[in-house]
Symmetry: C2
Subunit: 230 residues, 2 copies
């Protein structure tokens, strides 16, 4: 939760969530070591931790790369999120006392409001970041730290998927879903919230063009597009 302790990992993850690091990007140990002002040792440690979390992978003696989920992996990641998030919401009604922690609904409502604003200002980076954060906040509200961590990593993965398969997923529609879920939660209709969450994640997944093989030259094309600086 704090900044200094493992800032390399958090830094990479937030760069991914914010769309500043694209799938397939190479992360050289030496470069990162220089950026963070530490030796390669600590960079390697951070990379390995990120690897076990499924965020980056290593190609032997070539370097570390932000993962590029295949279509199969993409589907699996969304399925995993669907299973866990709907399971979480459905579990709420079995917890008579716990329910959601404190002012969770109020926080979520405020978050959805933030999403709305980001939609209007149109800042694409913070927009996708906020849309992903909603699910993490929801997990946090549920109060199970294990599930929160798991969903944080899965969300990072699906964010990468969205970047790869260029969904024109209506950000507005997503935010509407989020608002609907919060409303149902406020009413205590957990089963309904779970159902809507299921539809929501399916909708996002269906918005992706998983049939289209990811273009390995995407980055290159962008650079070579007319108007690029010499």
């Amino acid at each position: 939760m704090t900044q200094p302790p493992d800032s390399i990992e958090d830094s990479v993850i937030s760069a991914i969530l914010g769309g500043r690091l694209r799938p397939g990007t190479r992360l050289g140990e030496a470069k990162l070591a220089e950026v963070y002002g530490v030796s390669r040792t600590r960079v390697r440690e951070a990379m390995m931790r990120l690897e076990t979390r499924g965020i980056v992978h290593v190609s032997a003696r070539r370097g570390w790369f932000v993962v590029e989920p295949s279509a199969t992996e993409a589907r699996a990641a969304f399925q995993a999120r669907r299973v866990i998030e709907t399971g979480m919401l459905r579990d709420l009604h079995t917890l008579p006392e716990h329910t959601l922690r404190g002012d969770a609904v109020a926080h979520l409502r405020a978050h959805v409001e933030e999403e709305r604003e980001a939609l209007h200002t149109g800042h694409v980076g913070s927009r996708t970041c906020l849309l992903g954060d909603f699910h993490i906040h929801l997990a946090h509200a549920f109060g199970n730290p294990f599930l929160t961590d798991i969903l944080r990593d899965l969300t990072a993965r699906t964010t990468l998927v969205s970047m790869l398969y260029q969904s024109d997923q209506d950000a507005a529609a997503s935010s509407d879903d989020h608002a609907g879920i919060v409303t149902l939660l406020a009413d205590g209709d957990y089963a309904g919230a779970a159902r809507l969450m299921d539809e929501h994640i399916r909708r996002v997944e269906d918005g992706l063009d998983l049939a289209a093989a990811p273009d390995p030259l995407a980055g290159l094309r962008e650079i070579l597009s007319p108007g690029a600086p010499a």
Copy 2:
């Protein structure tokens, strides 16, 4: 999946699942390096990966230790498993084609049979190992590699919990639950299987004495008990 690549991690995990490594056990880098015939570097890498998976933790300049889940963490780990495993089973009916992979039910049936035999022979180590493996196999049958990995680690955690809070959880009752789940799956009654799974995990959790603080001297007492070698 293969043996040689990351055998240190797998070795530690299987030692935990098999009850050969107890919570709180210290894992010295130098010792492990000698055992595995490598330098401390690789041991450290393995430990860090296990740390991000929540299996071990490091105490600054004191060493690596197998985690000792607190009562709160124990409850959270069981809740996470319940959410995910029931969510998985409930999701089966929404997958018209997929359902369970191939001969999964047959495999699970065979596994339950193995459990029964282990119960009779009474080998305690392999027994707890098998009872945990059932859930991992079930996840594998579902076919989502992410969920399989997640549940593997969560199961390792709950195994540690069971060791700490000395549940007299009837192994026989657990195995009966497993058998019941397999039967319901074979009948295609996924909702029923999910319900039974929910009860099953609750039962195991309730069998634990989470109120009893774990005894930090357990290992010592055992060594000093009458009959121990000089």
